[in-house]
């Protein structure tokens, strides 16, 4: 049996909490916006639930989970969910990734989140 999921770390030693303000890359803001659209917080068409996002984040391999940032986990998870729901296929995703590889990277300018 799996007693405790890797993500379920409440109460375990974790070191100090950094209290500094976070800055976000443009791609992270885009992932956030994409998620708001997919779960129907913004717009009319709901394509998934936040619970599916959490399920697929929790399904990450522990080593990947630990080294990924918050939005790294989100973008992997929402992509898995779109595959599971049949919105995109694995093959379509593979071909698109090949197509965009080598294009000039999108702006990585840091931006402070306003919320």
């Amino acid at each position: 049996m799996i007693e405790r999921g890797h993500h379920d770390m409440g109460g375990l030693p974790a070191g100090k909490v950094r209290r500094s303000e976070h800055a976000y890359d443009d791609w992270e803001l885009r992932v956030d916006a994409l998620m708001m659209l997919l779960i129907g917080v913004v717009g009319e068409s709901r394509r998934m639930t936040v619970d599916e996002l959490r399920k697929n984040v929790e399904a990450l391999a522990p080593a990947d989970y630990d080294k990924m940032g918050y939005y790294d986990r989100w973008v992997i998870s929402l992509t898995q969910t779109m595959i599971q729901r049949g919105v995109i296929t694995t093959d379509e995703l593979a071909r698109k990734l090949e197509q965009v590889r080598g294009l000039s990277p999108i702006s990585r300018r840091k931006r402070t989140r306003r919320r």
Binding site: M1, G5, T49, E52, K55, Q84
Partner: protein, 100 residues
């Protein structure tokens, strides 16, 4: 959403002493590991919501599950807790994770 509208009747009331089920199922679980098996007191009834464990599996999560805010004593939850004995921690727990 009111509980009546959803046709969901809460089994527990404010002030009831309840225990979180000590279970380890598979799937997406909203009840943290550290609180399973612990007893606390119902502080409020938050409403009723589609079951997130079902929503995570592309199902509708109905009937909605009552959600309780349960108050636990910190010294009950953490072995060797050295803070104020009056300290509490509150968690929101769905009804299907609660037993009397």
């Amino acid at each position: 959403m009111t509980l009546e509208k959803l046709g969901t009747v809460p089994l527990y009331s404010i002030g009831d002493r309840v225990r979180v089920r000590d279970a380890a199922p598979l799937g997406h679980i909203r009840t943290p590991f550290y609180i399973r098996g612990h007893a606390g007191v119902v502080e409020r009834i938050c409403g009723a919501f589609p079951n997130p464990e079902e929503l995570a599996q592309q199902r509708d999560g109905l009937p909605a599950q009552p959600l309780y805010r349960v108050r636990f004593r910190q010294q009950d939850v953490w072995p060797g807790y050295r803070g104020n004995p009056a300290d509490v921690i509150e968690l929101e727990i769905f009804q299907h994770w609660i037993e009397a």
